[in-house]
Amino acid sequence: MNPEFDRPLCLGIESTAHTFGASVVDSKGQVITNVNSSYRPPSGVGIHPRKAAEHHGEHAFQVVREALATSGEVYLAPDFIAYSAGPGLGPCLRVGATVARAISSYLGRPLVPVHHGIAHLDLAITASEAHDPLAVLVSGGHTAIMVHSDKKWIFYGETEDITLGNLLDMFAREANLPSPGGLSVEQEAKHGRSLLPLPYTVKGNDVAFSGLLTAAVRLMKKGEQISDICFSIQEVAFAILAEAVERSLVQTRRREVLLAGGVAANQRLREMIGQVAQNHDASFHPVPANYSGDCGAQIASSGQYAYRSGSSVPISQSWVTPRWRLDEVEVPWIPRP
């Protein structure tokens, strides 16, 4: 841990889905600690919201304590507490919010609700040193292409049905591959050789993957090799997204392409989006792999900006919002200097 930091310090609590995380980030965006614990369902099963919430409840104390520990019995005292207020699974969100309220109340420090998707972008922008990028957010909750304009992120393209993360996780589940599904599909795809036919759905800049999922499951039932199916899912689904990114880049003329969210850890996707950026002379800013998935650091990182723009709330108004559009939130801190 780096003992040099600038106050105010933000303690961020992440608790939207499978991961409970806590992290301390300083006012310059430096991640001081980042501790996370993820609920892993058995193979062939998805996340059960209550079971994930139980996992979070059991691990919250230990995770927060580790995130605040410096050495021995000396703890960092956060100046305010940020929590993931949505979007996400209700039971999971409520655990994180309850922990955040308790700490806020005990320490008498402000409480700051943070949008989980915006937090993915904020940490990725800091870590990859972007300024005003075309943002590509790919996770279990989002698959969207955005630009910042007039205080908010504006969707330029997004999925009309399931996300890329859903696609990979749901196929992994059907194929009985271990959780996390995205990683399993990526590993299988490395052994795949032949490209099987899958639907390629682009509606302008929007994309859709549910037809592709159905077709992939059908291929599996026909007895095609799992590795070939995984390879084909990646090639086709990522090509769909890459094409939408390319169109968006040409139309919006941004000079930077940001890739953030859990699926951004996928090497093949990084390669493809990186090539799109390069083909159009834009710089490529993928989130570092250790910050791609859900983590406390994204909430603490985004919390610093939200706090500075005055969005702390009293405990009585510290809601969680399971459904919350990313483009409804004002983010005056974008573009970054």
């Binding site: 989002h142 969207a144 969707f155 009309e160 302008g204 800049n205 090639e235 139309q251 459904r323």
Partner: protein, 218 residues
Amino acid sequence: MDSSTIGKSLIHRGAEADLYASKYAEWKIVIKERVKKNYRDSGLDRQIRKERTVREASALHEARKAGVRTPSLFALDLESFTVSMSLLEGPVARERLDGATSSMVRAIFYELGAQIGRLHGKGLVHGDLTTSNIILVRNEIPFLIDFGMSSHSEEPEDRGVDLHLLQRSLLTSHTVDDKACVKAAFQGYRKTLGDNEANETLRKQVQISRRGRYFAIR
């Protein structure tokens, strides 16, 4: 016509194609070549480029016959994934809109809506209707280009996508009043397509714009 043997000069590099200026007899033409994308599987790449090239050529021809303002089709070459068409003189709407007066912009959008209505009335949808795919001849008369994503459809869903894409390109890339533009476009659209079908499209467009993730249930 074999596009590989005639003299040509690169005039524009788009998202999926390179455009070259050339001549055919007395006509100034544009040769549009769909280029290989290094990021995707080469088999998939050829399949997509071929499909788009064919779609573009046939939709250009059909739209033109229906009286929609588009370039005229000159040639189709599936060996090189090229479509050749007449050259339109004028800026793309993307470049021009923000500098134009608001009454000018409204007039452009009214006329644009009328063109879209005519296209839809012939059972065609554009599929990629952004301000980058509209050329303003003499700075004011909108022509539709880039029909690679077009398809045959009379579904309100597909028609709604066209209007949705247009509105979103206004929101993300322009400072013009998008609501006024869309309103003007819709008046023109209604004129050529008729009230009933136009209203149906509008209803679908509103649905489509709310189709993304995490909209609150209201």
